[in-house]
Symmetry: C2
Subunit: 651 residues, 2 copies
């Protein structure tokens, strides 16, 4: 059978299931990537699981999100992550080294491998002929522990690129064109595979730009073939031995088809406040801007900064404008310095920031009230910049640099200059400090995790009991989001590595007595909550399951669940139940005590069963849709216990 690149990558890593779109498959994971904002919890999960050494081929812990240290907490997290990397056998990239995605690409990415990362833009490394996917923290912890990753087999969407990019049009405009055509849900359930003659002219880093923002299309992954350009890139990094060719078979087919003629593209821009809100730059040219911003994993390449440098060279940016340069890696920054591009940017009036995610995730560079910000970043969701009612436009470095000169949104084709076409270097300096290698396992065994006062281990949790009675502490309505279960924001996020502390904020928005009552109830057997439709919608944060579990939540009974939160409830051993007859929702009241009997045996053999309501004559009928694998996890008391048992039994 003829296969496309995606199918080859999946087939090579398939450990369970069949490659039929929609069917659950298990994939062997070769590499993992964690960043600091999600990584601290992943490392605490590894500790709780009793994992000794990573079982992947290469796992790396990057520090790129929280690199501004306004107090001890971020600095302590960095030390903790380094100690965890050393203990568990991971690579470690220190703060200031840059954004995980380009650094991983430079140092560890290998054609033909799978990569799972606790960051939604992990897909960027699909540019290297890899199957690279973003996932939840615990999924990555499981992958590090050697477990497969389970997804539904995606459809493969072949996007044929033809023609050549005109002057002043670059890779960012390609992915903006995809977003213009298909909006932010166009890629859901699909792997996007680029092919065709047009990719020959795209450098590895250009492909990174396109693969990165596959996340904005909602795609499972984005895949490029591994061709001679990938070989050139790996050679420039001194890693040519890591190259192998991966291309689609000649008669490979795709589930879905698309074609983009690069020659017909023009500079594009996503208007506030969605990456899918794309129009030609020319359509909104003249709109005044307050800020122009070059950097992030959506335009991380040497070329992206160099072209901006060449455009502003010898000129001055518009007065009153903030021209923010966020280098994507320290290695690349050094190269940009050596080639004179940083001097060009600085002399023109730029602000040069430390390499890292920075403003892309609202860590600095937030725009002023009511002012337009032009960015090469991947996302412009409302408030992501750090300013609540922001107005962020997404564009290419060409458009950002041209607009920095004029102080208004400017089609770079209107600049009176020759297009500075930049060629990637064929050799880059090897900076040994970019990645600390894993220590040998014998040494690692003796190492301790370094935990500052704000870092707290995950307490051990019990397996699901057979018989229990739990009061309903909250009866909620429809569309309860994970923000209502456990808010994000600056009050809560600093405690991301401190479960006992972050738990104090659980359901605070819904009922500010919840924490106290739940804590009291915890030692008396725990509690349940009841809600309506679409329970757990919104952010995928796993703390929204882990924190209530810590407070003794045993069962959630709702009309239906949002998909990711359901998975998180299973992962943390909370029984996720729906009403068989939705009208029975009305029968339950806050304070009612639910009686579960013989539940371990029951859920193993029945999808539907009855739950008693204490002091009431009636019972209610509930249902679960758990697979055998899910049941194993729930019965163990969550995935941490499940893997811990497995590690201990040495299977």
């Amino acid at each position: 059978m003829s296969l496309n690149v995606t199918q080859k990558l999946i087939q090579e890593h398939l450990v369970s299931g069949d490659m039929n779109p929609g069917e659950e498959i298990g994939l062997k994971i070769d590499q993992t990537l964690t960043q600091d904002a999600t990584g601290t919890m992943v490392m605490l999960e590894l500790e709780a699981m009793g994992v000794e050494q990573a079982k992947t081929e290469a796992s790396a812990q990057y520090v790129d999100h929280n690199v501004i240290q306004e107090d001890y907490r971020n600095a302590d997290d960095h030390l903790f992550l380094r100690s965890a990397a050393r203990k568990f056998g991971l690579y470690y990239s220190k703060p200031g080294n840059g954004v995980s995605h380009p650094v991983h690409m430079q140092k560890l990415a290998k054609p033909g491998k799978t990569l799972l990362g606790s960051d939604s833009h992990t897909c960027a490394n699909g540019c290297m002929g890899m199957l690279a996917m973003g996932a939840g923290g615990i999924d990555v912890a499981m992958a590090i522990a050697g477990e497969p990753y389970y997804i539904k087999m995606p459809k493969v969407w072949g996007v044929k690129l033809t023609g050549e990019l005109p002057d002043w049009v670059s890779a960012k405009d390609v992915i903006l064109e995809m977003l213009r055509r298909h909006d932010v849900k166009g890629g859901v359930g699909k792997v996007i595979e680029y092919y065709g003659p047009g990719i020959d002219e795209l450098s590895a880093m250009d492909r990174h730009v396109i693969a990165n923002m596959g996340a904005e299309l909602g795609a499972t992954a984005t895949v490029f073939p591994s061709d001679k350009e990938i070989k050139r890139f790996l050679k420039s990094q001194g890693r040519v031995d890591d190259w192998k060719e991966i291309k689609a078979d000649d008669d490979a087919t795709y589930d879905l088809h698309e074609e983009i003629n690069l020659s017909e593209l023009e500079p594009l821009i996503a208007k506030p406040s969605s990456p899918g809100n794309v129009v030609p730059v020319s359509e909104i040219a003249g709109e005044p801007i307050y800020q122009s911003y070059v950097g992030s994993s959506a335009n991380p390449g040497y070329r992206d900064f160099a072209v901006a440098g060449e455009i502003v060279k010898g000129k001055q940016i518009a007065e009153g404008l903030s021209f923010d340069i966020n280098p994507s890696s320290r290695q690349m920054l050094t190269q940009l310095v050596n080639e004179g591009h940083i001097a060009s940017l600085l002399s023109a009036g730029a602000r040069l920031h430390q390499a890292g995610c920075n403003g892309c995730i609202g860590m600095g560079q937030a725009p002023a009230t009511g002012r337009n910000s032009l960015r090469t970043t991947p996302r412009n969701f409302p408030g992501r910049s750090g300013t609540r009612e922001d107005s962020v436009f997404l564009c290419s470095p060409e458009t950002a640099a041209a607009s920095a000169l004029t102080g208004e949104i400017t089609d770079p084709r209107t600049l009176a200059m020759k297009y500075p076409r930049i060629k990637d270097a064929d050799k880059v300096e090897n900076d040994p400090g970019m990645l600390e290698s894993p220590v040998d396992p014998a040494t690692a065994r003796g190492l301790e995790l370094e935990k500052g006062p704000n870092i707290s281990s995950i307490p051990s949790m019990e397996a699901l009991q057979d018989n229990f009675e739990v009061p309903i502490l909250l009866k909620m309505g429809d569309n309860i989001s994970t923000d209502e279960i456990l808010a994000g924001g600056s009050k809560v996020l600093p405690y991301r590595s401190n479960l006992p502390k972050i738990s104090t904020f659980t359901f605070e928005i819904v009922d500010d007595n919840y924490y106290e009552t739940a804590m009291k109830q915890r030692d008396e057997g725990g509690h349940a909550v009841v809600a309506g439709y679409n329970y757990g919608q919104g952010s995928s944060r796993e703390h929204a399951a882990l924190a209530p579990r810590y407070l003794g939540l045993k069962a959630v009974v709702v009309k239906d669940f949002a998909r990711i939160h359901l998975q998180n409830l299973i992962n943390f051993g909370i029984l996720p139940l729906t009403f068989v007859d939705e009208s029975e929702y009305d029968k339950l009241e806050q304070g009612d005590v639910l009686q579960f009997e013989n539940v371990r045996e029951t859920i193993r053999h029945h999808h539907e069963f009855e739950v008693g309501v204490k002091d009431k004559s009636e019972k209610i009928r509930v249902r679960h849709d758990l697979t055998e694998r899910h049941l194993d996890i729930i019965l163990a008391g969550g995935i941490i216990n499940w893997i811990k048992n497995k590690q201990e039994s040495g299977v």
Copy 2:
């Protein structure tokens, strides 16, 4: 009469008083400097005063403290400050351009001039043959409005430098030697004037290092002569016409004498947690460090970064260490980039931050819990780094770079390499974006201040009434600090430009009902407070007088005042009174109503007078020690009204 440099500068600017140490003198101010953290209030004060145009020769508004924008507030402040600079006729230096002190030195400093700045390290520009002094915000606002600055005539402390600095010893070690000898109060009431053959070898920027940390000695100012090195420096900046020679007369004398033989100095270090806690580096060599940090106005020169670059060139810093480079100005950063020093630092593993104050004032780069941080910054007071229980050492760039390589405190003389002696460039690139010039007055008149939602004008305040009755809302004990009057910290500081909002925190630590009660009482004639000894000690923040005044505070009756807070009370029109008989403190109770009669006339003619206590038979005797100038200010209702009246009457 023969004069030293200090006396020449003072004589040239004397508008009142005589040059007898301890006597009040008034000085004409030629230049001012404001930074963003203090500048927003200064600009609001100028607005409230009705000032149209700065009356100084040159006034500059720098943005260097709050350059991390985590939400709209700092960004809005920047836009507000730029609009104020344009409206009031000031120079404006945008965020990312660098620290006020070196930028001012590069762009505006002139030998023979006076400079007043709302930053305690304003004294750094004393290196240029100027009388440069730090002051409160309102003092700088007054100077911008053309008013003299009043101080007590200082003693002049002549420090003769002989010999030459040995290899690996630099300017920072000279000022650390002064601190080792005299500790942090050694300079109080004095201007330190350096002279002698040793200064010939010190570059202008080396002298900046020494003058800057005169603040740590508590000195009023530090003065250097303007010699051929200052001419060379100004020439390198394209400003040779701004040079003039200023040197002490041959037979000039000093009130106090000191001598330092530079040849005998060795690398020094200030241990936690005081700049006066100085020992030789060799004494504590081997102590492990977590962080090494180069930058700040205490080591701002090209040389300071270049020497660090040369020391680490081609090597790697110790694993796990954070090597933070905070450039002091964008112009200098460009120069360091062009000369290859930034590449050396980056390749060795450094984190390169945006030009600005950054970690020096706790804005990022805070150290981890329980770890040692080595810094070239001027201060290591507990918690200033952002980490509450920090452990910060102060040293030269040589010591910082040597220690970055080893991971422990290291005497740079023990490095097996030749000392890289750096020469300052004789010509630097002129970057026109470093300073926006004032707009012409005609245009300025039509401009509006741009105020984001967190920036609020200072409301107008009434003149002191002749007869009023005010209840005592608080009766407090001894040593009430300005932190208790109005706390600093991250909860309060974001409202530094918003008087109505920051006022809600007034006296919160003492009595959390104060705000509510005072607001209620405000419309009914205001209130008074009573306290014991040393009222208003601690931080000089003027908000601690302005906020209670906004809430209707009319009079403060105490046993005695801390000096700076007393001045702030006068400035904001609050009657500062002491008990004639301290035992009468016991007669007053919270809730008592004080009756002031014919007070305008009374305080003008009597230092002591009686105040009634309503519903009590007895009166209490109070006293003030206000000068005629103070009385004018108090009677006008504060300095803002006083200058406003003056501006309006056109005097």
